[in-house]
Amino acid sequence: MSAAGPILVLSVLLVPAGSALVLAALPGYRVAARLNVLASLTTFLVAFGLFFARPAPGRFLIVDDVNVVFIVLNTFVAFTTSMFSASYIAHELEIGRLTPTYLRFYHAMYQALIGAMNLALVANNIGLIWVAVEIATLTTVLMVGIYRTREALEAAWKYFILGSVGIGFALFGTIIVYLAAQPVAGEGLNAMEWTVLVRESASLDPALLNLAFVFLLLGYGTKVGLAPLHAWLPDAHAEGPTPISAVLSGLLLNVALFALLRFKMVMAGNPSALAPGPLMITMGLTSLVFAGFMLYRRRDIKRMFAYSSIEHMGIIAFAFGMGGPLANFAGLLHMTMHSLTKSAIFFAVGHIAQAKGTQQIAAIRGLTQSHPVLGWGLVLGVIAIAGMPPMGVFMSEFLIVSSTFAREPLLAVPLVGGLLVAFGALLYRLHGLAFGDIHGNTTPIEASYLPMFAHLGLVLVAGIYIPLPAVQWFQHVARLLG
């Protein structure tokens, strides 16, 4: 079995890359959409195989306890989103918002994005992580602008500029990490290898590491969407095709945060370096409280859920900033739950916006009557994301709040305050969207419900019972994160 490991990890990268090339050349959109689903499924199955056959860590690629579940989660959501995307784009083509040529481009970019995100997750070289995040950014910029309306172009431009500045800072941070590692690990590739950095972390120059971490936090933090660097996020989510919003929220934000976690592990190994906690706690709380209040003023349904993503990324950054086994455990769980829930919500929202022909919240009412399946799907999703009890998000938020109360009761006040503000906003908006008199179009729409309910089902199950191996894995990684 051990021989299968390297093949598996290469396939996780090469299947999306190869499919991107094929899809770019393939004219028929129906075939392309199916091939997109098939390629995503293959990648998912291959990634799943990594649980059983893991390659030895190499100079460039590594599959360890920390990233293996993220790879599987990443490919799983990519697969379900490709199913959603197939029915979504069929409608977009029908109403003429996209043309077949653009669809070819869209599918190729989708696979390129998946490949780049997988690369960022399995990379063992801090330069390679940076390259992968950069490629992922560029592909999403192109996808956000694909409708070519005034708003879409503005969103893409803003995303591009802010994303580039962020990625520039991240590179500067990476260079400083290399400078810190060079006297210890020697010149060349060794000093950029993440496993070497973690092993030698105690002997790296703490002053350089501190400086590097500030740049990395600003750089990758821009991509995570932490306030005050979040300005691109709502626009990019609202103006791009909805499958891309789902992948952005559910996956790309996680990948950027994951890159940050890799560096946090290096910091954690050096006792005299600055503790990354307070910085992450501050940015996390700011994002949470700010996004919580901003949720009230949204008029566009996709923008609203984009702000909700900022809120949840804030919660996760806060949890990792708190550190310690319990808070890290909760943070990891919350990353997984948010990823599944938010993409399910975007699946629902995508079809709702298509059915109603608008994204304006004021024009959407009474969904549970006009489109019962979509409406109740949205209700379930919002209940989950707001953190109501039976769902998995409740569980992780509960863990974060209780561990904060136990250790830093004062920090728990703004945390709980922010959570309640966001909770109120989401339920208030949900009431208008899902119930009341029917507004707008009531014609039924061809939608794929399977991905949405599969995600929500997983979130529900996770809220009630998490299997022991999963709990053990989370605990193990939580300890590694320090």
Binding site: N125, G127, L128, W130, V131, E134, L138, V141, L142, G145, R148, R150, E151, L153, E154, A156, W157, F160, I161, S164, V165, I167, G168, F169, L171, F172, T174, I175, I176, Y178, L179, Q182, P183, E187, G188, L189, A191, M192, D205, A207, L208, N210, L211, P234, D235, A238, E239, R297, R298, R299, D300, R303, Q360, A362
Partner: protein
């Protein structure tokens, strides 16, 4: 460390920072493009000098890329785009030139204050190179902030990238992977931006970003 080698490296890196200041007060778009070409040219000299004193031949490739793409191809192409879009007018700045220069000086002071104390253990060349590089990065950022036109923002972004290349080459023995990728990212970025510019031009009659800013998605 040979003192001549040190002085020349210093001179070139300092020259890049000086040119960044020149970029800040250009009030014509073609002037901006020309200064940027010079900026990239000095960068390529600096990288080549690093290749020479570090005995790292692969850095010559980075220098060549900086010279060909950033000092020649990109300015020429942008020149054409500007002509084609018909925006060869005065650049409108958000903040006055004087204030911008003052902020720029503060940023340079900031990067020296930040970089020099923490890099005491490193070689003196790497230290000061890094301080210069950070200044260039921050000045590029400032340029992006104070200009309204998309073209000037691109220049600001590329000046920022030049600072990154300076930092990467100053770090002794940094693997080739990264330098090539930096160069590539600039190239890709340029293509992307080019596409965007054409699209923006196609759709609207201006590449003034303020015109794009009018619609925020939040007004009913």
């Amino acid at each position: 460390m040979d003192s001549v080698a040190f002085d020349v490296a210093h001179l070139l890196a300092g020259g890049i920072v000086l040119l960044s200041f020149l970029l800040l007060y250009q009030d014509r778009i073609f002037g901006l493009l020309n200064v940027f070409a010079l900026h990239a040219f000095v960068l390529s000299l600096s990288v080549a000098w690093q290749a020479f004193i570090q005995g790292a031949p692969h850095l010559y490739i980075t220098a060549a890329i900086a010279l060909c793409f950033k000092a020649i191809v990109i300015p020429v192409a942008l020149h054409r785009i500007v002509l084609r879009l018909g925006i060869e007018r005065t650049i409108e700045t958000v903040v006055g030139i004087g204030a911008t220069m003052l902020v720029g000086m503060a940023l340079v002071a900031l990067s020296i204050v930040v970089m020099l104390p923490v890099t005491v253990a490193s070689e003196s060349l790497a230290r000061e190179d890094l301080a210069f590089a950070l200044s260039t990065v921050l000045l590029g950022l400032l340029l992006m902030v104070v200009r309204r036109y998309a073209v000037s923002q691109i220049i600001g972004f590329m000046a920022l990238e030049n600072g990154l290349v300076l930092a990467a080459t100053g770090a002794k023995g940094m693997p080739l992977v990264v330098e090539i990728s930096v160069a590539f990212s600039v190239l890709i970025a340029f293509i992307v931006i080019g596409i965007f510019l054409f699209r923006i031009r196609e759709r609207f009659d201006t590449v003034d970003l303020e015109a794009l800013d009018r619609f925020r998605g939040e007004r009913p």
